[in-house]
């Protein structure tokens, strides 16, 4: 191991631990999920980067939103996101979560995902290659190192705006607010 890295570990073990064990929720949204099985199996082997898919959101801290988000999926995404433990990181995968992509004039697909939940980074493309996930993960490492992967803190601070937008899109939500709204 590099001496520099040892110093980093001693200085901030929590951050380094978060960085190298990103557990991703195995949540299938739209067509982008087709890129995830090759990523986690032997061809690309995401475990080299410490990324493992996990079935339960309560054990995960990376949320890949892979593909278009319909209103019905948005409800599930918000619930999943709110169940995850902090620190949690979200990455929008593909064009559709960014601005609607090819569903830009659809009646039922939401256009800008970061109006409803906070996003740390985007992977553009339709479809992005599996390598793009690793580019995103290494990018996320840099952001965590610099203390810039703060989307979950923003969610806590700006929660009333997020909740308002979520209620505008989905009507009344059947679960109580995660943080106090004043």
């Amino acid at each position: 191991m590099d001496r520099k890295v040892i110093r980093k570990w001693l200085k901030d073990p929590e951050k380094m631990g978060n960085k190298y064990s990103l557990w991703a929720v195995y949540f299938c949204t739209g067509c982008g999920i087709i890129e995830v099985p090759p990523v986690i199996t032997s061809r690309w082997d995401a475990e080299r980067f410490g990324v493992i898919p996990v079935a339960s959101p309560r054990q995960a801290n990376l949320f890949l939103i892979t593909g278009y988000v319909s209103l019905k999926t948005l409800r599930a995404i918000i619930r999943t996101y709110e169940q995850m433990q902090e620190p949690k990181y979200t990455v929008g995968f593909g064009s559709c979560p960014i601005n609607g992509g090819m569903y830009w004039d659809s009646y039922n697909t939401i256009k800008k995902l970061d109006k409803y939940i906070p996003i740390d980074g985007w992977i553009a493309g339709c479809m992005p290659r599996p390598e793009a996930i690793f580019v995103a993960v290494t990018h996320l490492w840099t952001l965590i190192d610099k203390g810039m992967a703060n989307a979950y803190k923003k969610y806590r601070k700006q929660y009333k705006y997020y909740r308002k937008n979520q209620e505008m899109a989905l009507g009344k939500l059947e679960w109580p607010p995660l943080y106090p709204i004043n």
Binding site: L71, K72, R75, G100, W104, D105, S106, Y107, N108, I110, K111, K112, D114, K115, P118, K154, K157, Q158, Y161, Y162, N165, M168, A169, L170, G171
Partner: protein, 170 residues
């Protein structure tokens, strides 16, 4: 019963329907909307035991909806596609206050198809036990699959009106 016989029998049994064979060897029936149930029951009795699909087309210039029932047969499964002669039954419904009788009594699997068409095209199925929403989360003024539903205006009015989250002050 082979295909030729069936076409002849259909013409004899039902008075005002058009029956012909299309270029793919399938039987195409144009009928009135009151006849749907009787024709489907008749075809079911003649070996067409599977309702594959109920579909809908919005012909906005003719001010009509077209409902399409596709029937296939499991009994003749060893025959080729052309020999089997799947059946298309087409009916027309006017756009103003469209209403059709449900065919659940004949084919039970029509239930989700009819619910879907009710939701996306706004056609009322008389006698359907539960015409509750199937896919959509929101309510729309015009059912969204109709041709006069303006998707771009809807996106402008609804999705683009949701504000962007303000940046936090540091």
């Amino acid at each position: 019963m082979n295909k030729k016989n069936l076409i002849d029998e259909l013409k004899l049994t039902f008075a005002d329907i058009q029956v012909n064979e299309d270029e793919n060897g399938m039987i195409k029936i144009h009928a009135k909307k009151e006849q749907v149930k009787t024709i489907l029951r008749y075809l079911k009795g003649n070996g067409y035991d599977h309702l594959a699909l109920v579909s809908c087309v919005d012909w906005i210039n003719k001010k009509e909806f077209e409902l399409i029932y596709i029937l296939t047969s499991y009994l003749n499964d060893n025959k080729s596609y052309q020999e089997k002669g799947d059946v298309y039954l087409k009916i027309r419904v006017t756009r103003g206050g469209p209403e059709v009788e449900t065919v659940i009594g004949v084919f039970e699997n029509a239930e989700p198809y009819e619910r879907e068409i009710h939701e996306l095209f706004g056609i009322n199925f008389r006698g359907h036990p539960r015409l509750i929403p199937l896919f959509l989360e929101r309510e729309y003024d015009v059912p969204p699959f109709r041709k006069d539903f303006d998707t771009r205006k809807y996106v402008e009015d609804f999705f683009n009106s949701i504000p962007v989250i303000p940046e936090e002050k540091t």
